[in-house]
């Protein structure tokens, strides 16, 4: 647990927060979208790292990038198929954002580390941890953006379970006027900046004490 805190808060923050997840930041305009995308990224991450570990022996430096890209694209496609099978309506809403996971260079970095490092199981664990950190970043973003941008919360969550089982949607009171810009891609960057500001604030306080 302290390791997660370390990775999420103390180093790698720019790499993780701003660049690593930027391809999928745009689509996190609701909590359920963020949940689906974060899980998809985690599945792809673990799958491709696992495959890189499996092929470690035969990947020579000359064909490294090529084979890693092949592995990533295959695992992204597999993830997309899984998403279609298990949350079909989300896969329609998020349509073009699943293939975008392939452009996430965090996965590439992790796979390279697996190839270089001899302690592979530790690297696999790290991959899972990065996925978890993805949840920690994307879920709050989705949560805030949905609340401020649409005045609703947990819409479409019923697509995970049977609609009758749970009435999860929350709607803000009438006087609340939603800010539409927040649901647009620019809203992701606004809140990303705010998140970073909060992070810096906390870090500076930690440093002082």
């Amino acid at each position: 647990m302290s390791d997660i805190k370390k990775e999420a808060w103390e180093y790698n923050q720019v790499e993780l927060l701003l660049l690593g997840f930027s391809p999928i930041l745009i689509a996190t305009n609701s909590f359920s979208n963020a949940l689906v995308l974060a899980s998809a990224t985690t599945v792809t991450l673990i799958l491709s790292t696992g495959l890189a570990f499996f092929f470690k022996k035969i990947i020579s430096p000359e064909i490294k990038l090529l084979s890693l890209l092949i592995i990533i694209s295959f695992s992204t496609t597999i993830t997309e198929l899984l998403a279609q099978a298990y949350t079909f309506e989300h896969s329609i809403i998020l349509e073009s954002f699943f293939p975008l996971i392939a452009t996430n260079f965090l996965i590439l970095i992790k796979m390279e580390k697996v190839l270089k490092n001899n302690n592979t199981s530790l690297q696999m664990l790290h991959a899972a941890k990065i996925g978890l950190i993805g949840f920690l970043i994307l879920l709050p973003l989705g949560f805030i953006r949905e609340l401020v941008g649409t005045g609703e919360l947990f819409s479409n969550m019923d697509l995970f379970w049977s609609p009758a089982a749970i009435e999860s949607k929350f709607t803000a009171p009438q006087f609340f006027n939603p800010l539409i810009i927040i649901t647009l891609p620019s809203g992701a960057f606004i809140f990303c900046g705010l998140l970073l500001a909060i992070y810096n604030l906390i870090r500076s306080k930690i440093h002082k004490s």
């Binding site: 092929f55 020579s60 084979s67 295959f74 597999i78 198929l81 899984l82 099978a85 309506e89």
Partner: protein, 206 residues
Amino acid sequence: MRHLRKVLFNITALIFIIIFCGGLLVATLYNTNSRIQKEANQYEEKTLLGILSPYSFTNSIVEERITIPVNTNAGIEEGSKAYLGKQNQKIIAILLPITAKEGYSGEIKMLVGISSKREILGIKILSHRETAGLGDKIEKDKSDWITRFKGRSIKNTDLNAWDVEKNGGDFDQLTGATITSRSIIIATRKVLNYVEDNYEALFNPD
């Protein structure tokens, strides 16, 4: 010689990786395909029945489709297929795919459900590029504007009334999106005219 061996080894390695990953992909596809098909059909049927509610049909609306001839005036594009809703072998509702060309920014694609009584049952916007926050209120989950067409027909709405209120019509416009509202109103009227003209061919084929 050593160099050649290395190249050959790399090629074999790449082929092996591709075959293995491909096999994994095929296995996933094989295992999820039937489920995806089922979910896709269910989703399509749910959306279609949503447009045509409260009508219910004895046939499966997803499976019964006919190709209708091109009609540029009504916005029916080439190769578009209409869905048929039947009750006891009689067509009681039809869903026509329409493209409204006069949107504020480009085409608006929609599905218009029309009953055999020549009334609008419902409209679903399939795709559009209207302004977010203004023109996109034509979507059903953003505002209920689109439900205002329900029950409208050529008979109960005059030709002049098929317009926004600003121009003396029967339909209120979406704030800040008069062009969008108007293009949908007019496209809907054109579809109703088209159905009127081709009533026999659509509802009583053979």
